[in-house]
Subunit: 437 residues, 2 copies
């Protein structure tokens, strides 16, 4: 019996191990799938990995090849260090860091050499105090300056490097006799590293921050257009659904996937801001000129978010408007659908105009159409309101010649529909705001 | 005459120079005021500058004091480097970078030493190729891994350091005879630098990311409560204003400053996410236990943003509801104001509950009150709708005994008010969503 129990225990342990292994395998497979998907969605990310490896391997040549090593010596380390920290996904990011690093190294180094010259004139015993004192002042001022928004956006990395260089030269130089010689040597290797970075980043499958920003804004605008359109579709299709099955399905149906596209717009602020900051550093490339108006994209993005807030409110009202009787909805369905189509057309026209970087001649036209459709919806609303009032006030006389065979619904049931319609009107106003940026 | 013209020219130049100097002075004064304001608003930022300077000065002692320099030698540079890149504003940031750096240095260094041992066994002529090949593989894999969201959030900095260490040890070690000795020495100085960082960051006026996140979420919730309240106030106060001066002021009046508070909520996502990521690394401190549920704050933040979208739509409707006749508004003013007050109470109660980290017993009570007030508003809406319908249908008979002395307004004028009210109801639903997170 103990033997039998033993084998039962062993079997249980074995099954437990098997299930553990299966769980681990599932996790690994899931992770591998995520990793694969990231690369399959955007092969440039895979290319980025290889580019980084290539840049580092180029740096390592300075160690392996004797004549090059004689030139750089142990300072080749600084080229490696530069590549590791400067190499970025976008060309703008690479240039931002590289130029910041260059400027900060030169400024910090020059300042440190100056202070050290002064310190060396004042005698050996005061030297450490002068050096440490100046370090304290400059480091605290530079660190504090990172809280200033403009500095943060443009020179955040530079400030770090400034502090680093100042400390290494001013303090580290205390123990080295030929500081200027050391500084010059380091600068050369840093420059070599930065050049390797720029060359690999900008020449092999470059990813431009400006282009990324441009594509993202245009794509988000299309998503917003699709969301406006399909939200209104949901609003009316749902009515039909509920009407047919007489309330069988839940009142709050999940929105169709297209209607959710506006969420991408809501969360795009951080990435738009950082891309716009990096794009500033990029040279002219492709269709993007030297002074391409990148801050404009941020403004368009803000206007789109403003529009998306209202789309969110409209999406929420889809559920509550489901109770409205279908024959009342019919009155507005046409005008609402037309307006949402026009609004989407305006946004798509604007997105096309952004994408091709041309001032679209049709834009004013479609905006006019949209405003006409909005006017039409306002008119329909007024008519429906009047009809509802009239229906109530003259139930007996007019019932035979009005088109509505059902009795007029109480006003309260129609209200969610009115709210949705007025939200749609507000969305159109804001869409015009997007266009007029 | 030429002399005269000369002096006129000189005068003009002088005036031009003066105006230029004045403009420059204005810019400098404006900049100085900005800088001063940042420090005055949050003195911890000034303290951060001094803390950074202190940490660096402590490192510089390793250069000045002979016995210490004998111990660290030229490697003291690595302590400085560590302090400059690891020192951060929040303790969480400092620990995140410090621990990432430590882990990555050890992993990268050990891996590199292992690969180097293998390479050294395979003969001098193959060594560079094995080393470069392994560098290429590891660097590209590590760089690609930064695109995986979980890696990005937790180990982004560590990956950079891993690549750096691997390259410096594997490739740099090619030229150094005692690699292990060098690696160990560097590790010691890096550890010294990291310890100085942690000590200065966590012991002198520490800024905890968890605390920051906590305060920010509670503060934003209060702002949202104030915005809901004062938006509704604006909605009705404006009516009175327009009514008194009979349309004299512009229809779209600027919202009061309090009503704009919700904008802080809309843009808080990026800072909430980064603070929550950093707070993870912090040890237990104050009221924050070891496994404090920081991701919960992100959920609350998302729910608040969801609520803020609707507040934005409501704020937009303040302008269009201004045309509604005052005597109609009177019907809803009470119920709307009461509901907004209750909604604000719920949010304030929740914010208090977040701030004190206690489960408020009153919360269920005030949510119940809010729902009762919402029910009341729905009832009022129904009454008003019925009244409007009745008013129309029975202009002649009932006019003497109904309370309204003015003729009933057309339905279309009342609609914006109805929309605003239903937005308010949606806001309350979403506020409940915030509470129930």
């Amino acid at each position: 019996a103990p033997m039998h129990r033993m084998s039962g225990f062993a079997g249980a342990a074995w099954r437990w191990l098997l299930s553990l292994a299966a769980a681990a395998r599932d996790r690994v497979v899931g992770f591998a799938r995520t990793v694969w998907k990231i690369g399959a969605d955007d092969p440039r990310k895979v290319a980025h990995g290889f580019k980084m490896a290539l840049a580092l391997t180029l740096c390592s040549v300075f160690y392996y090849v004797q004549p090059l090593y004689v030139f750089t010596g142990h300072n080749a380390m600084w080229a490696v260090l530069t590549v590791v920290v400067v190499f970025e996904y976008t060309v703008g990011g690479c240039l931002y860091k590289g130029l910041n690093r260059a400027m900060a190294t030169v400024t910090g180094g020059a300042l440190a050499l100056g202070v050290q010259w002064i310190a060396s004139k004042s005698g050996k015993e005061f030297e450490p105090f002068i050096l440490s004192g100046s370090l304290f002042v400059f480091a605290s001022a530079a660190t504090y300056s990172r809280f200033i928004p403009t500095m943060k956006a443009r020179f955040d990395y530079g400030v770090t490097i400034f502090i680093l260089t100042y400390t290494l030269v001013a303090v580290g130089g205390y123990r080295v006799n030929e500081v200027a010689f050391m500084a010059q040597h380091r600068l050369t290797t840093i420059a070599i590293g930065a050049l390797i970075c720029f060359a690999v980043c900008a020449l092999i499958f470059p990813v431009w921050a400006g282009q990324q920003l441009h594509d993202q804004v245009a794509r988000n605008m299309d998503k917003l257009a699709a969301a406006v359109e399909s939200c209104v579709e949901d609003l009316f299709s749902e009515a039909a659904g509920v009407d047919a099955s007489t309330g069988e399905r839940p009142a709050k149906r999940a929105l169709s996937e297209k209607s959710q596209g506006y969420r991408a717009v809501l969360n795009a602020k951080a990435s738009e801001d950082s891309l716009a900051n990096l794009a500033r550093w990029e040279p002219a490339h492709g269709k993007f000129g030297f002074r391409h108006p990148y801050p404009l994209y941020q403004k368009i993005g803000a206007a789109m978010r403003c529009c998306a807030y209202c789309v969110d409110a409209l999406a929420a009202s889809v559920g509550s408007a489901a109770q409205t009787p279908a024959h009342v909805k019919k009155h507005l369905a046409g005008a609402c659908a037309a307006l949402s189509r026009h609004c989407a057309t305006v946004l798509r026209e604007a997105s096309g105009s952004v994408a091709t970087m041309t001032r679209s001649g049709r834009l004013a036209l479609v905006v006019g159409d949209m405003n006409a459709a909005a006017q039409e919806l306002r008119h329909e609303l007024r008519c429906l309101a009047a009809l509802l009032e009239e229906d109530d006030s003259s139930d007996t006389e007019h019932n035979q010649d009005t088109a509505a065979p059902e009795s007029a619904p109480p006003l309260i049931e129609v209200l969610p529909l009115f709210s949705a319609a007025s939200l749609l009107l507000e969305i159109c106003t804001r869409a015009e705001g997007v266009v007029s940026v």
